[in-house]
């Protein structure tokens, strides 16, 4: 995939709602005494697409760039290079009126609904605001639309006249979702939408998102560090590490037949709520921690923790390639073909959980 040669397609039935192509978001950091100390490559050459009615899960550990991807899609951080198209329209450098139009097509919900909702506005005002900003509904009909939105997220209609602090975290997240829905978006970016919620409330929000998607064919970009939640809501999953895409395929393949050594280690690290499984299970325990994004390793960024790294991994950045044997399964690993076809012998031993 190249950033410069793909023409912008006209919006059609097969046009993805969101197409991200070779996205790079780099931040200069730590100016001291006028000298720039470094550049954080928060997102460094990531490509993916999300289709109508589809949920793409983005997983990875802190610093992998998953939230930055979401913010770039929503136009909240400047794009260094690459392209983001929403329903066929390039929005990565859109400004002014076209930026605003793009913002209507993609909406975002955040981890903490308490800080993302203005505490001085009633829920009704919060839901009306996007209608006013985007001039979507005649003033006389706004109230009706607000009530409809409350119905959609299963909040009582009386909620319209109350303030965010009067609600629980889960209910406030419902308000955030209703607010995102207000403008009839094509895509909602959900950045850790359940991380701040209590256990028993998380399932309610996950189920609500799925239900809304069934009703409206919304596309969702579901960003989370919680692999179990991602596996539950996603159709396809993108695994990121230190600003790079490691693996992208269907949920079934990611969880049942992961190829990339990082994906395997990540899945193996998640404790499963089943004592029998946990006690019999062997783990791939990665050494060390994610390196500093200020000094990412040369070649493959994962190689310093990879149990099967080769000398070539330090020298060359692995290409983003489709695993030929299966299709619809992209991996950035020098050993991906070996990992798919030859899982016996030394490679298997090195990757075997211990």
């Amino acid at each position: 995939m190249s950033a410069t040669t793909t023409p912008v397609e006209p919006a059609g039935i097969d046009t993805p709602v969101l197409a991200v192509d070779e996205l790079r978001v780099h931040f200069p950091v730590g100016r001291s005494l006028g000298v720039r100390r470094g550049l954080v490559k928060a997102v460094d050459g990531v490509s993916f697409a999300v289709h109508r009615g589809e949920t793409l899960g983005v997983v990875g550990e802190s610093g992998c760039g998953k939230s930055t991807v979401g913010m770039a899609v929503q136009g909240l951080v400047p794009v260094t290079s690459g392209r983001i198209t929403v329903a066929g329209r390039d929005v990565s450098r859109a400004r002014g009126r076209s930026r605003q139009a793009a913002r209507r097509q993609t909406q975002m919900i955040f981890q903490d609904p308490t800080s993302s909702l203005n505490a001085r506005m009633t829920v009704g005002e919060l839901l009306e605001e996007p209608l006013v900003v985007h001039q979507l509904v005649r003033p006389a009909q706004r109230r009706a639309r607000v009530l409809e939105l409350l119905d959609q997220v299963h909040l009582p209609r009386e909620a319209a006249d109350r303030y965010p602090h009067e609600f629980s975290g889960g209910q406030r997240q419902r308000v955030s979702i209703a607010r995102a829905l207000a403008v009839d978006p094509e895509l909602i970016v959900c950045d850790e939408p359940i991380a701040s919620l209590d256990l028993s409330v998380r399932a309610q929000i996950l189920n609500l998102l799925k239900e809304l998607q069934r009703e409206t064919q919304l596309a969702l970009l579901f960003i989370s560090h919680d692999l179990a939640a991602v596996s539950h809501v996603s159709d396809r999953v993108l695994v990121m590490y230190l600003g790079k895409a490691m693996e992208l395929t269907t949920r079934e393949r990611v969880y049942d037949e992961p190829v990339h050594p990082y994906t395997r280690a990540l899945l193996s690290a998640v404790p499963v709520p089943d004592p029998d499984v946990e006690r019999s299970r062997q783990r791939i325990i990665l050494r060390g921690e994610v390196p500093s994004p200020l000094e990412p390793p040369s070649g493959c960024v994962f190689r310093t923790r990879c149990p099967v790294a080769l000398p070539v991994c330090a020298e060359e950045i692995p290409a983003w390639t489709e695993v030929a044997a299966v299709g619809h399964h992209d991996v950035a690993c020098h050993r991906s073909e070996e990992l798919v076809t030859d899982l016996s012998g030394q490679l298997a031993d090195d990757l075997a959980p211990r």
Partner: protein, 348 residues
């Protein structure tokens, strides 16, 4: 785990304050009885911990699991004497460490006992360290205070402990300040600090919640390898519970609603809250197409608790009795008990 038969003195209950309890190999015993903690709030008294009893046998790893506000952290802080009073008030209860009641001790006595026998690990390692002293010195400050070892011995011990918890290049790390360590390394250093006095009980409050999963896996591996230690581990993560605990205490709205061996809690949960919680958590091994079963509603207001069962408003099995009479813990097997009128069959 200690294989020796144990008598923790828990159920006998009559050994309150007995000072002749014999310390055992394989960790300390902790018995918490009838603990009640309230907080003064602007809206009235909030009962954060409501007649909580449980025990940790020598060498046993017990997890307290529950959602925010269920009282799990308050319970731990109360028995360590770390609650700010006011607003907190410990109304009643006992917390016996090898028979010695921590709650009736003077602050000085308690510090001596805790410093020698109990290690503590919290979620936020950065705020548990002083920013102005090297990590190595802080790891052994407690030991120096309690055992009077020399500065040099302490330095060697710090390096040894940091190595033990898997910190690479421990001699250099010991010289560094907390902000120079990564999150995972700080968490390990805090575990090293907790282990410095060779405690026989480790109390850990959400110690891996802020960590990435691959680092959490390293820390859990480390903790599972610790010997001769009883562990009280507070978490909301059922995966961590399944991975680590021998026994589970499930808390809801300040009360223990169920407790038992980890396998029976996950296989045969009795309390409707435990059942609901287990069903509502997405699991990597689950059928991913089925919607999650979700629990309706919210936990009750601790300032205005219902007279009956605190779970009644959300319970699918509630009967009339549940809103009137608070159920007590009833044994459903020799090792498992639950507080429910309906599912334990105690109503009939």
């Amino acid at each position: 785990m200690s294989g020796a038969p144990t008598d923790t003195g828990a159920r006998a209950g009559g050994r309150a304050g007995s000072t002749d309890a014999v310390p055992r190999d394989g960790g300390a015993s902790l018995v918490v009885e009838d603990l009640v903690v309230e907080f003064r709030t602007s809206r009235g008294l909030a009962r954060a911990v409501d007649h909580v009893s449980f025990e940790v046998a020598p060498g046993e790893r017990v997890a307290i699991v529950g959602e925010s506000g269920c009282g799990k952290s308050t319970t731990a802080l109360a028995l360590l004497g770390l609650l700010p009073t006011p607003p907190a008030v410990v109304r009643s209860g006992a917390a016996r460490l090898d028979g010695l009641d921590l709650l009736s001790m003077s602050g000085r006595e308690r510090r001596r006992v805790l410093g020698n026998d109990v290690g503590m690990v919290f979620q936020d390692a950065l705020s548990s360290f002083s920013p102005v002293a090297p990590v190595g010195r802080q790891v052994t400050d407690g030991v120096r205070a309690h055992e009077g070892i020399s500065r040099r011995q302490a330095r060697d011990l710090a390096v040894e402990l940091l190595a033990e918890v898997g910190i690479p290049d421990p001699a250099r790390r010991a010289q560094q300040y907390p902000h120079e360590l990564s999150g995972g390394m700080r968490q390990r250093a805090m575990i090293a600090m907790a282990l410095a006095g060779r405690p026989r009980l480790l109390i850990a409050d959400e110690p891996t919640t802020a960590l990435d999963v691959t680092v959490q896996a390293q820390v859990l591996e480390l903790v599972k390898g610790l010997k001769d230690l009883s562990i009280l581990w507070i978490t909301h993560d059922l995966g961590v519970v399944a991975s680590l605990a021998d026994r589970v205490v499930v808390m809801y709205a300040g009360t223990v609603v169920e407790q038992g061996p980890v396998r029976s809690i996950f296989r045969q949960p009795t309390h409707p809250y435990t059942r609901g919680l287990l069903r509502s958590v997405p699991n990597l091994a689950d059928d991913r197409h089925a919607p999650l079963s979700s629990m309706p509603g919210l936990p009750p207001d601790l300032v205005d608790l219902p007279p009956g069962c605190p779970f009644v408003g959300r319970c699918p099995d509630a009967i009339d009795l549940c809103s009137r009479v608070r159920p007590g813990l009833v044994a459903v097997s020799p090792e498992q008990s639950a507080a429910c009128h309906v599912t334990t069959g105690s109503a009939s």
